[in-house]
Symmetry: C2
Subunit: 116 residues, 2 copies
DNA sequence: GACAATGCATCCATTATGGATATAATCCAT
DNA sequence: ATGGATTATATCCATAATGGATGCATTGTC
């Protein structure tokens, strides 16, 4: 992540989208995001600490996420993040892109037709 | 692409999945695959020649795709590829992974609820 | 109190990608 | 038919992105 900014338009890197998606589920600190991605993907996707904390730093700079005061005084070390409206908009755009991709996969019978 | 084999399990790189997805639509030669990806994604995703031909070579080695005889005698230079059953199975697995991801995005209101 | 798990940070080797470059065939307009 | 744009593949290189190692400190558990 030597680039100063993420591209404003999709595609996002898989790691970046997973982080935004985790935060779309509520405020979380870095380590919790990493754990959630692992659980959500049944271990298929795991972000190394290098990837995880580097991207969090950059996303904060780009204001796609913001660090917030954690109400938890017991864990001073934690840095808790929240998705910004900008970050949400970008995550939505990426979600739409992936949805379109899945639709093509369905049309080409890589996935079963939608139940109705 | 110095690795001798792609991972058998998702996640695939975005470029690899786009190539497999294009071939799921029928036999195509490399250049046509690149064009289709660009059109299908409205220009958002474009594979450089380095990425495109390198991956095609590796996918052939891994037998996820196979080079077939083109019926077209007018274009000797073309190399036409076909998805193998193995390649199709892997593309299916990746499509399922993405579909699950999209479902999470939908549950978190990054996408509108499914129409019924 | 010992030990594992949590939590963040940085560095480094590896991997993946895009773009430049090269080469050649095909298509199309003139 | 000729000249230029497009098609088509291949390789090289600089850059970007990733994972894992390492370090260090805190929190939870027995």
């Amino acid at each position: 992540m030597s680039r100063s900014e993420h591209p404003e338009t999709p595609p996002l890197s898989a790691a970046t989208f997973h982080i935004l998606l985790a935060l779309a589920g509520g405020d979380r600190h870095g380590y919790a995001i990493g754990k959630e991605v692992e659980e959500q993907t049944a271990g298929a996707v795991s972000l190394g600490p290098g990837t995880l904390y580097r991207i969090l730093k950059q996303l904060t700079i780009d204001a796609w996420i913001a660090e917030i005061d954690s109400a938890d005084d017991e864990h001073e070390r934690r840095r808790t993040y929240r998705l910004t409206s900008r970050g949400r908009a970008i995550a939505q755009a990426e979600a739409r892109r992936l949805d379109a991709l899945v639709s093509v996969a369905r049309a080409r019978r890589l996935l079963p037709a939608l139940a109705r």
